[in-house]
């Protein structure tokens, strides 16, 4: 199940507002990709295009070279899990399993039932009677059990408590080991989920500002701490995201490649290089003014 998703110059506009502008990327299968961005950054718009929920205003998105929108073969490969309003839904979890079984050739009924048990889903109750967390657990169950080569979870954890979220993350990792596919996880809970990601996309104000493998992204972001003057001297050549100061000690958060020359300079001055988390990078890269 090797699948390649390619987006070329995607633009989406609603009336006067431009939700996405000129987004291009390639995603390879067998990866867990984190899509992060602030509220209104355009995450859901992007995922909607990917799942053929809507057509891009311009540009194209393809799976293995085939355009997705209204393409029977392509849409069958994608599952898009998002918050859904079930307040008028009288059908039960079991009935939804039957529906998925009928329209999703890869739907694994046994696995769905196992997941229902893990999440303690009441399978004979109408969905409208389930709590928000249970409804999310149900969405997640369908998403995992559909076993489509491309599975998208758009803030799928809403209302789920911490233990349920942990089970969800664990299931993604286990499922990725058993049946590798392309998972795209859009999230606000960056610190909680960053260990899942192989690759990260950060979108900000409708633009893709970062696409990196998780390892190299974390290498690009680092902190430099030490005596104020020394740190300032080194930082002048770097892309500084934020700075903190306590007495004569200063710490800066930096994003970018660390050249050998700078590294030597840092060592000479006895400054300390530290790691930063994805969450810190995300906050700084998307803060006001950027």
């Amino acid at each position: 199940m090797t699948r390649k998703v390619e987006a070329k110059n995607i633009r989406v506009s609603y009336k006067e507002m431009e939700a996405l502008s000129d987004i291009s990327f390639t995603l390879e299968s067998r990866k867990i990709v984190g899509l992060i961005g602030r509220n209104g950054a355009g995450k859901t718009s992007l995922l909607s295009i990917l799942a053929a929920y809507r057509k891009a205003t311009s540009g194209e998105i393809t799976i293995d070279g085939e355009p997705i929108f209204e393409n029977e073969k392509a849409v069958a490969q994608v599952t898009f899990v998002h918050q859904t309003d079930y307040k008028d839904e009288y059908d039960t979890v079991i009935q939804f399993f039957e529906l998925a079984e009928r329209y999703r050739p890869g739907f694994d009924r046994k696995y769905a039932e196992q997941l229902a048990e893990i999440f303690q889903l009441p399978t004979n109750k109408p969905l409208r009677k389930l709590s928000t967390g249970m409804q999310s657990a149900f969405n997640v169950t369908i998403g995992l059990a559909n076993k489509t080569p491309i599975t998208i979870f758009d803030e799928a954890y809403q209302g789920m408590d911490a233990p349920a979220r942990e089970l969800f993350y664990k299931e993604i990792l286990e499922e990725q080991a058993r049946n590798p596919r392309l998972f795209i996880l859009s999230t606000h809970l960056v610190s909680e989920m960053e260990y899942l990601f192989d690759e990260v996309l950060i979108i900000h104000k409708g633009k893709l500002i970062v696409q990196e493998e998780m390892d190299s992204l974390l290498q690009k972001g680092f902190s430099v701490t030490g005596a104020m003057e020394d740190v300032e001297e080194v930082a002048s050549a770097l892309n500084v995201l934020s700075e903190k100061q306590l007495g004569g000690t200063k710490s800066v958060m930096v994003y970018g490649e660390l050249t050998a020359e700078t590294e030597a300079d840092v060592k000479r001055k006895g400054l300390e290089i530290g790691n930063v988390s994805l969450q810190d990078l995300f906050i700084q890269l998307t803060k006001e003014g950027n």
């Binding site: 929920y53 057509k55 209204e70 849409v75 918050q83 329209y103």
Partner: protein
């Protein structure tokens, strides 16, 4: 049509037939009660088929509205294209209309062979005393037009929101109005019935042809809206 389109047709037909299984018995009971209790010539001469047909127009209109609001997002979510949904919803609506009118025609015929005094004054339809085939075809066609009008309204609201929804209501009203006008001489009709507009209508053949044209125009409009309609998240 591909496999998915066929599946959608069968499933939508089954889902809506469940509603019919509730709706028809209620209408039948209502008919018998009315004809039993009311001594009004207008009611006493009305056949079960014509009585059911009149309420079926509104029933089908509502089915049309629900088709877009409930089924379109559900199918897209399950990896079905809008095209397959359109085919499935359209064909299932035709099946629905045939079943609805067909089942009622059979019951009406059964009543007629018993020759009960209660139904002595009943006339099948204004298309003629024994115009079974013509009546059935006409009624099927008319309820299909009502379904399509409802579908147009539902989609207009789903896709364009309030203002666009009202435009689609207007369009649907025009379609239904024209359709009723075509049939004015032959059937008691819900919408034009309240207006005292009387235009000379040549004959049933023209009414049938006109309804088919209206149905095709509405279906084309629906298709144009549905083919790239965005599905909402949440």
């Amino acid at each position: 049509m591909n496999e998915t389109g066929k599946k959608v047709t069968v499933d939508l037909y089954a889902a809506q037939m469940k509603w019919i299984a509730w709706y028809l018995p209620i209408v039948y009971v209502f008919y018998f009660v009315l004809i039993w209790l009311l001594n009004e010539p207008g009611i006493r001469s009305m056949s079960l088929l014509t009585f059911t047909f009149q309420t079926a127009t509104i029933f089908m209109l509502i089915c049309g509205i629900l088709s877009s609001l409930a089924f379109l997002p559900m199918y897209v979510k399950h990896g079905v294209t809008r095209k397959s949904y359109f085919q499935g919803a359209f064909l299932s609506a035709i099946g629905l209309a045939i079943s609805l009118i067909g089942i009622t025609a059979i019951f009406t015929w059964i009543i007629s062979i018993f020759n009960m005094p209660l139904f002595n004054e009943v006339v099948l339809s204004s298309l003629g005393e024994n115009s079974w085939l013509l009546t059935i075809i006409s009624y099927i066609l008319i309820v299909i037009v009502y379904f399509l009008a409802g579908w147009l309204i539902g989609l207009g609201f789903y896709r364009y929101g309030g203002s666009g929804g009202f435009v689609s209501i207007l369009a649907a009203l025009v379609i239904v109005f024209l359709n009723d006008l075509l049939w004015e001489f032959f059937t008691p009709i819900p919408v034009v019935g309240y207006l005292t507009l009387s235009l000379p209508v040549p004959n049933v053949a023209i009414a049938i042809a006109g309804s088919i044209i209206l149905a095709v125009i509405t279906a084309v409009l629906v298709h144009k809206i549905v083919k790239d309609t965005p599905v909402k998240v949440a």
